[in-house]
């Protein structure tokens, strides 16, 4: 076999004393697509950040074709031909395709003036070479997500990248755009570019990858050739046999109500959600399982009045409701723990207690005036009830750990008169101890006669708390499973990949 273009040897990395990567070996070859798979927290992103110089490594070595390489930052790696195609697009939306491609790498005339003509010509050539049908003069902000990604790829190639790292490149692409991307990847392979492909979508990996490396708990557990490989085999390797880290099922303490608290029929939201119907009973936790952009977040945001449905009815206790704003949704009894805690859930520059009382300012008043006594009591109750680790209720919330911040976001709603709690990735960026506590809190809440909808990429968590799980794919419900019907995480993982 020919020599790898890049080889990582014995890579180790820890964060705050917790090992994330343990003696990982990984290599990529020119003209091949090498897929990297693993559950959340398996270490994929960390490994790629070390490869692209974003993180330093604690141990191990990186070899390029011409010997050992040391990267101090992204630029070091970039100059050696390694480029990352970012999940969030890093292009400037107001500039044209040409301007973006040559950003900070402009071609000059007489060492001083921009050579617009040559840049435009060269951009056109690069786009043609990839078989991308985008005008070099188009403004990037007007392009679709897929087209923006193509521009990113061209930008990487313009600086002679030999190794492209793609992290979930298809997450926000339509089916057509995925096909187009795969054509381009085939094209890149012919041009002897090495591609490292990270994805949760097993079918795509089987379609495009030549090799598959499976990471679990920071270790390489399998290196597979993708020919004749089956989805079940990869998932089997990803899960392993161990159940040590799994969360225990917390059964509900009371029977669910016969009548549905929430009944949604034929819900449609722009391109994101198609003909979704479901119901939720008092005392019940339901979950929406699916890959990124399967419509999970959109369903919750629609219930919370942030998105407008184009079709469908929402009934609460049999009464049809229309939510035009989050305020109305709160009045109707909804509470939302949003997907992005830092930008949507919290006012980071404010104290813990100010954040906590935001949805319940009215309840914090004596007469017209806010009562500092009531606010402090409420804060103390929440802190002790959810065992939030903080010196005081006046501490600025951004100084708390992720898990403790999230407890406050949930606590915001537990103190209101909310009946239906919507949770969108509530455990992202939260340590394992706090995760267990958060899950227990949800069950405790529903045991008091309330209901919850739980969305998470971490299937173990869903299995631990959901009484029923709806499986979503591209905005549609493709299956509904009761807790008893799901034997293991593997079963659910296979459902999602269908």
């Amino acid at each position: 076999m020919n020599k790898p273009i890049i080889r990582l040897e014995d890579i180790s990395k820890s964060f705050f004393g917790v090992p994330v990567l343990k003696n990982v070996d990984f290599e990529a070859h020119s003209g091949e697509v090498h897929a990297l798979v693993g559950g959340n927290g398996a270490g994929k992103s960390t490994l790629m950040k070390i490869l692209t110089g974003v993180y330093g490594k604690d141990g191990g070595r990186i070899f390029l074709e011409d010997g050992e390489a040391v990267f101090h930052n992204y630029k070091d790696a970039f100059l050696r031909g390694i480029a990352m195609i970012f999940q969030e697009m890093s292009s400037v939306p107001t500039l044209t395709v040409t301007e973006n491609i040559f950003l900070n790498n402009e071609l000059l005339k007489g060492k001083c003036f921009l050579d617009g003509k040559s840049m435009r010509k060269r951009a056109g050539e690069l786009l043609d070479r990839l078989g991308v049908d985008i005008s070099p003069d188009a403004v990037v902000g007007d392009l679709s997500v897929g087209e923006k990604q193509m521009v990113e790829i061209v930008k990487a190639l313009s600086s002679d990248a030999k190794i492209l790292v793609m992290d979930e490149p298809t997450a926000s692409l339509s089916a057509n755009e995925v096909d187009k991307l795969f054509e381009i990847i085939e094209n890149l392979k012919r041009q002897k570019i090495a591609i490292i492909y990270i994805s949760h979508r097993m079918n795509e990996i089987l379609a495009i990858a030549d090799k598959v490396t499976v990471l679990r708990d920071g270790q390489v557990v399998a290196e597979l050739i993708s020919r004749d490989l089956k989805v079940e085999t990869i998932i089997g390797h990803m899960m392993g046999n161990e159940t040590g880290t799994s969360f225990e099922w917390i059964p509900p303490k009371r029977a669910f109500s016969k009548e549905a608290v929430l009944k949604v029929e034929g819900l449609e939201v722009a391109d994101a959600v198609r003909d979704v119907s479901f119901e939720l009973h008092r005392g019940e936790v339901i979950g929406f399982a699916g890959l990124m952009s399967s419509g999970r977040t959109e369903i919750l945001e629609t219930l919370f009045g942030i998105r407008r449905p184009s079709k469908g009815t929402i009934r609460i206790d049999g009464q049809e409701v229309t939510m035009r704003s989050a305020g109305q949704a709160v009045k109707a009894g909804f509470g939302l723990v949003p997907e992005d805690r830092r930008t949507q859930g919290l006012v980071l520059i404010h104290s813990l207690k100010k954040n906590l009382v935001l949805p319940i300012l009215k309840k914090m008043c004596t007469g017209l005036f806010l009562s500092p006594k009531k606010i402090n009591e409420t804060a103390q109750q929440s802190i002790s009830e959810l065992s939030v680790k903080t010196d005081s209720a006046d501490k600025i919330i951004s100084l708390l750990s992720g898990g403790n911040q999230q407890k406050i976001v949930i606590s915001k709603w537990l103190r209101s008169d909310m009946k239906i709690l919507l949770l969108d990735e509530p455990t992202a960026g939260v340590d394992i101890g706090s995760k267990k506590e958060l899950i227990a809190t949800v069950r405790k809440f529903t045991d008091q006669g309330n209901s919850a909808i739980f969305v998470s990429s971490e299937l173990q968590e869903m299995l631990a708390v959901c009484d029923r799980i709806y499986v979503l794919k591209r905005g549609k419900i493709i299956n509904e499973l009761r807790h008893e019907e799901i034997e293991s995480e593997e079963v659910l993982q296979n459902e999602i990949q269908k």
């Binding site: 960390t46 942030i306 305020g327 949507q344 006012v347 980071l348 935001l358 501490k395 951004s398 750990s401």
Partner: protein
Amino acid sequence: MKFKSNGMTLTGKRFDLSKIIVYIAIVVAFIVFSITLGSSGFLTVKNQINILRQMTTIGIMSFGMTFVIGSGEIDLTVGANIATSGIVAAIVMRSGGNAFTALLAALATGLLIGAVNGLILIYTGLPSFLITIGTLTILKGLSMELANSNSIPIYNRTFTQIFGNGKVFGIPVMILWCLLCMGIAWVLLRKLPFGAKVLAIGGNSKAAEYSGINVVRVRLTIMVLSGVMAAFAGVLYCARLQAANYVYGDGAEMNVIASVVLGGTAMSGGVASVIGTFVGAWLMAMIDNGTVIAGMTASQQMIVRGVVVIAATALGAISARRKQKR
């Protein structure tokens, strides 16, 4: 990955220079002027009361502006608002209206100006900076039109005494009105849910919205509040001068913004202080007064005022940045 840093900046409950710089600055200014100008009359009770009286109109406008800036917006119409609402009050009295109707008419004018600003803000989502540049220009034209580019004298003695030149126990009424407005603003900001909502919107409007706060309504209320406060300042202004004129309040918005920011309200929103704003306006008036006594020309005064604003806010900003790095 899961092991993100917790954003460990050391801005917790620690000493923050930007919030208290204005109190230090006013003490420093007072001491400097006392030493250099003590013999020229700076230290007399009469002069000190004079300083407080001079700050009242800017102060009242600044209380409204504290909410506007605290919510992350800006209102540049406050200066033009003074002229327009003052002219409306003067016209009402010229046509035989009494002092009370004149006050109501002026406040209604301010309310309307604030409502227009607010409605454009919530319906178009344009930056408030741009919107209020537009409405500011319209108001200037409108007040010239209303007054035929003339000064309108006010002969109603009740009006000029109650809002301008009267005294209660030796204290000019303007100071009392200003303190009353400060009290109202302080209660609104610190004691009512409204203030908490304003600061939440300024700190992170998304999080405020996701907490079920009616962001649109609060924004509209803030702009109306600023309009009404500025109109009341306009009433005091024309009562004091016993006339209304379209040039009154010209450029006042800059002094207002400077007072608010000096007082520790964050230009980006989320942090605000009514008392700080009061002291900020007081400081500006003290500097004006001291420089006049020192015999500086109007042009020299302007230069000093500009230097003080930059120096004080820069000190606060630099200390905040240092702390983040540490």
